[in-house]
Symmetry: C2
Subunit: 481 residues, 2 copies
C-alpha cells in the first residue's frame, strides 16, 4: 500500500516516488506579509502542515521550504503591496514586513502548524534572483528594456503546461495589461526598474530596481532544494500565472531539467459562499477565528474537506466540525481521566484489534492523496467504538486505556494535530482564578460550620498545587509559590 | 529634568539630544544565531528593552533596529560559526539559522523583551554590503587581494576612537593573526573569498565569497537609520574590534559623517565569578533559567545592577532579586485582589501624594543614564509604603487601590516589565486540573452528607467557569466547554 498523490501537472493520481530515497523536498508558496492572515491562509497552510506531518509519519526525511514574500508582489494598480501598506502606516517597508511576518507565524503557531524548516525572504535573496535573471538573459529566454527585464514566453514552448492555458489565451486575459516594452503581452517581468520614489530598490546589472514576484520562488527553491525537487504546493488561485511562470523560469534557466515533480494545489475558501476580499469587508482573520473556536476545532473544519477541494466557511459549518472534534477529543480525554483509577493490566485483545484496524484504515485513507476528511471519518468511527467499549465494559485496564489513547495521540495528535498532547488541555488564567475563588468560598463556609477537616483539606491541597492562602481581616487572598 | 546618558565615545555623561526632535534611532548588535541564547544575552537585551521602553515612555518615537548575524561571524579557527553548527547537525546552514533565530525570539518573548521594530539578517543584505565595500574601495579605504577585500586602517586616522586602542596596540594583539595578504596586521576583512567547500557564498565584483562580520552592521544601520543615528548599543565585549570597525567603515564610506552619536555598552555577565563559555561547561541557557525563575524574577535580577556594570550570576544573587520582586508583585497583587471588595471612593490625598512623589523619584533615577537599580529601589520603598497603607488603614477606597496599582503598572509594568498586566498571573494546565479534581472531591463529600446546596453550588459555579461535570458509574469526569 503506497502513497498516491494527485499531480496537477499530469492531472492524474500517481504513486509518489521521491527523487532521493527516503527524502522529500517540499516547497510551498508562502504569504505576502502586508496584512494579517485570514482563514483562507489557514486552509492552505494547515493542509500542507498535515501533508508534511504525514510524510514524516511515513518515515520520510522532509525538507520543507516556504517563502515569505516581502517585495515584488504587485497590485493590479502596479503598486507594491508592502509599500502601499507602509505608506498607510507611515512606517518603513521593513517594519511592515516584520509586523506581519511575526503575526503570520504567531497565527500559525496558535493553529498548531509546525514551522517550515526554512522560511526564506524574497528581499533576502536579491543576489540569487539577479543571478537567475542573468542566466535567463544569457540563454536567450529574457530580454532587457530600459532597466526592466522580461521573460520571453515565446522562447519556452511548454509555457502553460501546468494550467493548460496557452499564450494566446493569455493575450486576451483581462488582467494582463499590455505594456509597450513587452514583445508579447504574456511576457512577464523578472526585474523592474525602480521609479525615483520607489524605496525598496537594489542595484543590478540593469540599474536600480526590484525583482518581480514570480522569480523569488524559482530562485529560492533552487537555492535550498536544487533545480528539481519533489513537491511544489500552493493555493489553486496562484496556478496561473504565478506557478506557470515559476516553471518557465526554472526550467528555462536549467536547460529543461524539470522543476517540481508533483504539483499539489489547495482549493480556495469562501465565506458564506463569497470569495473573501477586503473591499467586500468579508474577511475573517485567524486571530479573530481563534477567539471563537479552539485551534483544534478550526483544524478539524479545514480537514473536513479534501485539500484540493474548495470549502465554504460559515458559522454552521464550523460549528458542526467543532462538535465533531468535541466528540473525538471528549473520548480521548475520558480515557486519560480514567487512567488514574483503572485497574492494572495489559491491553485486551478486542482493544488491540480495534487499534490495529483503525490505524490501517486511517493510513489507507491518507495514502489516497492525503484524504484527511476520510481519515477524520475513521477517527469518528473509532470514537464511537471507544465510547462503546468504555460504557459497556465499565472499567478497562490501564493497558487498554493507554493503547486506545496512544492511537489518538498518534493519528489525531501527531498527524492531524487535533488531539492535544497535554492531558488537561489549555489552561486559562481567568478560569484558574475563578476556581481558587470558589475554593476560598467553600473553605469559608466550612469554617463557619466548624468543619475543620474540610477547611484544612482545602488549604493543604491548594498548598500542594502551589497556591498559598493568606487570611486577612478583610478576607482571604492567595498567591502562587 | 532631562535624560542623561553615558557616552562611551566621549567617556562622559551627556544630555541626550536626538538628531530629529521627538525621534530616536537605535541600533543594537544582535545575536549570532548558531546556538541557544544564554543568560548573558538576557542581560544585554533586557537592558536595551528597558532603555527602548523608557525612551518611549518619555514620548520619543523610537525606531529600534537589531540585526541577526547569520553569516560571517568567524571563530578563531577561521570557521564560520553557523557553518560549523550546520556540519554538526547535518543540516543546511539556513536550517540552523531558522532554528536558532526562532529560539532566540522565543526566549526574548518569554522574558517579556519587546521585539525590535526591524530585525534585519546579514544574509538578507548582501547587495547592501557589497555596495558599501565598493564605495570603500572607490574612496581609497579598502583594497582587494585575490578575491578578498580588506579595510585599510591606515587610511582612517580616527581608528581606535571608541576603544582607545591604537593601530600599534593591535599589531601586538594575540588574537589578530597576520595574514600575508594584509598590508597591516590591523586591517580587517570586508569580504572573504570562499573556499570551494564553503557553501554560504554569493557572487560579487571580487568573485564568489561572503561578507566579513563587521560590515553587516554598518550596511544595515545605514539602510534603516541613515549614515548618522542616535544610539548604538551592544555588549562591552564587542567594543573592540567589532564596534571600532563599524565606525571606521561607516565614517570612511560617508566622508566622515559621524556614525552613532551615543554609544551605550552593556557590561558582561559572569557565572559564579567566571566568564561563561561552552568549553568550561558553565553556560546557563535562558530556557533553563526560565524553568527555575519566572521571567519577572530574571528581569529583576538583571536590572538590579546598572546596564553598564558587570554582574555576577549565582543562585544566591538571583534568589535575592527574586525575593525582592516577590515583595513588589505581592503588594501589587494584593491591591488587585482587594479591589473587588473595597468601598467606592476616589483616591485619598496621601495616596495621590505618594504616587506623585514615587513617579518623580523613579523618573529622576531613570533619567540618570537609565539607572534601573536605583529605580527598582524606588519601587521597593513604594512597596513598603503601600503595605503600610493597606495594613494600617484596613479598607482603602476603590480609587486609592486603583491609583496605587496603576503606578505599579506604569513604572513596574510598562517601563521595567516586571509587573504582569494580567490579574491572575500565569495559568498552569496541571494546576487547573488539580483544582477541578479537588472540587470534584469536595462535591462528592457534600453529596455523601446530603448537603445538596454545596454540591449544586460547586456544579453551577464550575459551569459558569466553562467546566462541565459528568457523573458516571465509575466516577465524575469533567470537560471544558
Amino acid at each position: 500500500m503506497s502513497l498516491k498523490v494527485y499531480n496537477f501537472l499530469t492531472r492524474q493520481k500517481e504513486t509518489f516516488t521521491p527523487l532521493h530515497e527516503g527524502k522529500v523536498s517540499l516547497y510551498v508558496c508562502g504569504p505576502t506579509v502586508y496584512d494579517n492572515s485570514h482563514i483562507g491562509h489557514a486552509k492552505t497552510y494547515v493542509n500542507f502542515d498535515v501533508i508534511a506531518r504525514y510524510l514524516r509519519y511515513l518515515g520520510y526525511d522532509v525538507l520543507y521550504v516556504q517563502n515569505i514574500t516581502d517585495v515584488g508582489h504587485m497590485l493590479d494598480t502596479g503598486e507594491d503591496k508592502v509599500l502601499r501598506k507602509a505608506r498607510q502606516m507611515s512606517a518603513l517597508p521593513m517594519q511592515v514586513v516584520e509586523t506581519y511576518t511575526r503575526s503570520y507565524f504567531a497565527d500559525m503557531d496558535a493553529l498548531g502548524v509546525q514551522r517550515p524548516d526554512i522560511s526564506p525572504r524574497a528581499s533576502g535573496h536579491i543576489p540569487e534572483q539577479i543571478e537567475m535573471i542573468q542566466t535567463l538573459i544569457d540563454k536567450g529566454h529574457a530580454y532587457e528594456v530600459d532597466g526592466s527585464v522580461y521573460f520571453d514566453v515565446a522562447s519556452f514552448p511548454e509555457y502553460g503546461k501546468l494550467s493548460g492555458r496557452t499564450v494566446d489565451d493569455q493575450a486576451e486575459g483581462s488582467r494582463i495589461t499590455t505594456r509597450e516594452e513587452k514583445r508579447h503581452p504574456a511576457d512577464f517581468a523578472l526585474w523592474k526598474k525602480a521609479d525615483p520614489e520607489h524605496i525598496m530598490r537594489w542595484p543590478s546589472p540593469w540599474g536600480e530596481g526590484f525583482p518581480g514576484w514570480h522569480i523569488e520562488c524559482s530562485a529560492m527553491a533552487n537555492k535550498y532544494l536544487g533545480p528539481t525537487f519533489d513537491i511544489h504546493g500552493g493555493g489553486l488561485e496562484n496556478m496561473f500565472p504565478h506557478n506557470e511562470c515559476e516553471i518557465a523560469q526554472s526550467e528555462a534557466a536549467h536547460d529543461g531539467q524539470p522543476f517540481a515533480r508533483h504539483w499539489l494545489l489547495v482549493g480556495s475558501l469562501t465565506l458564506d459562499g463569497i470569495k473573501m476580499s477586503k473591499s467586500l469587508g468579508n474577511t475573517l482573520t485567524i486571530a479573530d477565528a481563534l477567539t471563537r473556536w479552539p485551534a483544534e476545532g478550526i483544524r478539524t473544519f479545514i480537514l473536513s474537506s479534501h485539500y484540493g477541494s474548495p470549502i465554504d466557511f460559515s458559522d454552521e459549518a464550523i460549528e458542526a466540525a467543532y462538535k465533531g472534534w468535541q466528540r473525538i477529543w471528549g473520548a480521548a480525554r475520558l480515557l486519560r481521566q480514567q487512567m488514574g483509577q483503572a485497574p492494572d493490566g495489559a491491553a485486551g485483545d478486542a482493544v488491540k484489534e480495534l487499534v490495529e484496524q483503525t490505524r490501517k484504515a486511517f493510513v489507507e485513507k491518507m495514502n489516497d492523496d492525503f484524504n484527511a476528511p476520510a481519515a477524520l471519518a475513521v477517527l469518528q468511527e473509532y470514537t464511537r467504538q471507544v465510547n462503546t467499549l468504555v460504557n459497556e465494559q465499565g472499567s478497562l485496564s490501564q493497558g487498554s486505556l493507554k493503547a486506545l489513547d496512544d492511537l489518538y495521540r498518534e493519528l489525531g495528535g501527531k498527524i492531524l494535530g487535533i488531539i492535544p498532547g497535554e492531558d488537561a488541555g489549555s489552561a486559562s488564567a481567568e478560569r484558574e482564578a475563578g476556581l481558587v475563588q470558589l475554593l476560598i468560598e467553600l473553605r469559608a463556609a466550612a469554617r463557619a460550620n466548624k468543619d475543620w477537616a474540610t477547611s484544612d483539606k482545602i488549604r493543604d491541597q491548594l498548598k500542594e498545587l502551589g497556591i498559598i492562602l493568606e487570611d486577612r481581616p478583610d478576607g482571604t487572598v492567595w498567591k502562587t509559590t
